[in-house]
């Protein structure tokens, strides 16, 4: 648009806008702000500023009123601004073990389920990229469909399979493989299974996107030079598909750390992930300032992975 504005200026008085004068000229000069500002302002107000409020309220104290926290900024009777910052919430986060333990537990759970997604998703994406063009677009749709289907309902559907009287146990009992039902629900294994099941499409899609663009002649060159297929994979394919590996891993890892529904529905009482702690702090204990402090601390820890994700997204868009 900058280029357009430049040529319009060079054409000078001859342009239709200049002839029509006032309004049209205004639109031509400032028109782009009519496009930029609505989404920019909306997202600043409803996505960015909320983090400011969370930061502010994390310094407040819980109070028995509506909303249930004390004022951080207040005007004293002699018309002066009064600032009362309380670090008590953050001190509480550091002293009560449950927060540190659940942070570490969430990171561990997210890490291993991301790894599982990668180990299952990579061969899937690789096989997809090697299919014929027509099959590829059908497979794309097959992988995208669960991604669009309700997350909650998919977790619920999985529960139907792994329950004590679910399909898996019924089938295994009928086949005589086991004598009594396997206990899968309310275990750590169920949480892993739930995360892998829910997030697998997020891993497969970016991997497929990079593998599909891979230059096949490079592999042929490697094989011409005497490299075995497995060696060529390690030396050529794997390094070149790293952007997809990282993008997919971030798309799984970051939301999985904050997962609430899966540990709440499939996990047992000891699967205390940070999302669950945050939810309980808010809905069960009604301690909004502590919940805000947990959210802020959580976000600080996520800043690194989110920055990596942003970096790769921007790079991907520029290419």
């Amino acid at each position: 648009m900058r280029a357009t504005a430049g040529t319009a200026g060079e054409r000078g008085a001859g342009t239709p806008a200049a002839r029509r004068g006032g309004l049209a000229l205004f639109v031509e000069r400032y028109g782009r702000w009519l496009i930029i500002l609505p989404p920019l302002l909306f997202l600043v107000v409803f996505f960015l500023i909320p983090f400011g409020f969370a930061l502010k309220i994390s310094f407040a104290e819980a109070a028995l009123r509506i909303p249930p926290f004390s004022d951080v900024f207040s005007v004293t009777p002699d018309h002066r601004w009064h600032l009362s910052l309380s670090l008590a919430n953050y001190k509480y986060l550091l002293t009560d073990e449950v927060y540190a333990v659940s942070y570490l537990y969430s990171i561990r759970t997210a890490f291993f389920s991301t790894l599982c997604c990668l180990l299952i998703g990579y061969p899937m994406a690789y096989a997809m990229a090697r299919a014929s063009k027509a099959t590829q677009s059908i497979l794309m749709l097959v992988i995208i469909l669960p991604f669009w289907t309700s997350f909650l309902l998919r977790v619920y559907a999985l529960e139907g399979i792994i329950r004590d009287q679910g399909l898996l146990n019924t089938a295994l009992l009928w086949l005589g493989v086991i004598d009594h039902p396997l206990k899968i629900m309310r275990t750590t294994f169920a949480v892993y299974l739930g995360i892998v099941y829910s997030y697998l499409p997020f891993m497969v899609l970016p991997l497929y996107a990079t593998l599909e663009k891979l230059d096949q002649t490079l592999l042929e060159a490697a094989s011409d030079l005497g490299s075995r297929p497995w060696q060529a994979f390690l030396d050529v394919t794997l390094p070149l598909s790293m952007p997809g590996v990282i993008a997919g891993s971030m798309l799984v890892f970051i939301p999985a750390i904050g997962e609430y529904v899966i540990p709440a529905l499939l996990g047992g009482p000891d699967n205390l992930m940070i999302g669950r702690v945050l939810w309980d702090e808010f809905f069960a204990n009604h301690d909004w300032p502590v919940a805000a402090a947990v959210a802020v601390a959580f976000l600080v820890l996520l800043a690194g992975p989110i920055a990596i994700h942003q970096h790769y997204r921007v790079r991907q868009l520029e290419h």
Binding site: R2, I36, P39, F42, S132, R154
Partner: protein, 276 residues
């Protein structure tokens, strides 16, 4: 790359797809089970679907969810398309980096953080400005924020691949930039607009965590009602409801996929015609 895959790779692909689909297929099959016991097949029956029609709580929540989804996806379509145009067409402007960050961050931001921060914004706004009280308005606003990100990303990639020279040709022939965009580029990105509206609609319809935080005491969306029932265990009427939703969403995705594919083929044919 088009080469034969090893049997091992194909096996993993088939098993992976089976893993993704089996639970849903079983869920739909058992929603027609006459027996209330989820593990015993008691014959074919549509009684749970009939019971669904009489359930006031579920119908009310479904109506609210559909209304929220329609409003949020429409709002997100407008804002997301504008953001995509800004990011693709205006290479340098103040706030570009900020806008890029704000349309990409919601894609990975854990919902629980978005939900709690937006709730704190809404209660603070209510305290300072007297608006908005928690309920449908706040749910719609919160949904527009995260759906905008998905719309922007979808439209952005389509717009970036659209041929700019057609629009320039239209302008050389005397069209205003606005006119040229509407007549030339809009038809090209139309499939992306349709599919991103549908994506926003399903994302909004599906959202549990953010809605739970920002909704008021009397406004429960469908996922919130389903969640409170599911916490108590598997129930046959939820099976029926879930099957219904999965089928509708599946149909929407297939239609959107078909539209995008048809448009891509059309464009390919057009460019081949132009080249030949």
């Amino acid at each position: 790359m088009e080469r034969r895959s090893s049997p091992l790779l194909l096996t993993v692909l088939c098993l992976g797809i089976a893993f993704l689909y089996l639970p849903m297929v079983v869920l739909v099959a058992f929603s027609f089970n006459a027996s209330a016991l989820a593990s015993v097949w008691g014959g074919f029956s549509t009684q749970w679907y009939v019971e669904l029609v009489g359930n006031r709580q579920i119908l009310g929540a479904a109506a609210l969810s559909l209304e929220v989804a329609a409003l949020a996806s429409t709002g997100a379509l407008v804002l997301g398309t504008l953001a995509a145009i800004a990011l693709v067409r205006f290479t340098r402007f103040r706030g570009r980096l900020l806008l890029t960050g704000m349309v990409n961050a919601p894609l990975v931001m854990p919902e629980i953080i978005t939900g709690i921060t937006q709730l704190l914004l809404f209660v603070s706004m209510l305290q300072l400005l007297g608006w908005p009280s928690r309920g449908m308005t706040t749910i719609v606003l919160a949904h527009v924020a995260f759906c905008t990100a998905y719309v922007t990303v979808t439209v952005q990639s389509r717009l970036a691949s659209a041929d700019r020279s057609l629009e320039e040709a239209a302008m050389d022939l005397g069209a205003t930039p606005f006119r040229a965009f509407v007549d030339v580029t809009l038809p090209i990105i139309a499939p992306a607009l349709v599919s991103s509206w549908l994506l926003s609609f399903t994302l909004s319809l599906d959202d549990l965590v953010i809605s739970s935080f920002v909704s008021g005491p009397r406004s429960s969306t469908l996922p919130m009602v389903i969640y409170s029932k599911v916490k108590l265990g598997v129930s046959p009427d939820i099976n029926a409801l879930a099957s219904l939703i999965i089928t509708i969403v599946g149909a929407c995705v297939l239609i959107a996929g078909y539209l995008v594919r048809r448009a891509e083929r059309q464009q390919l044919r057009d460019s081949q015609l132009a080249a030949g």
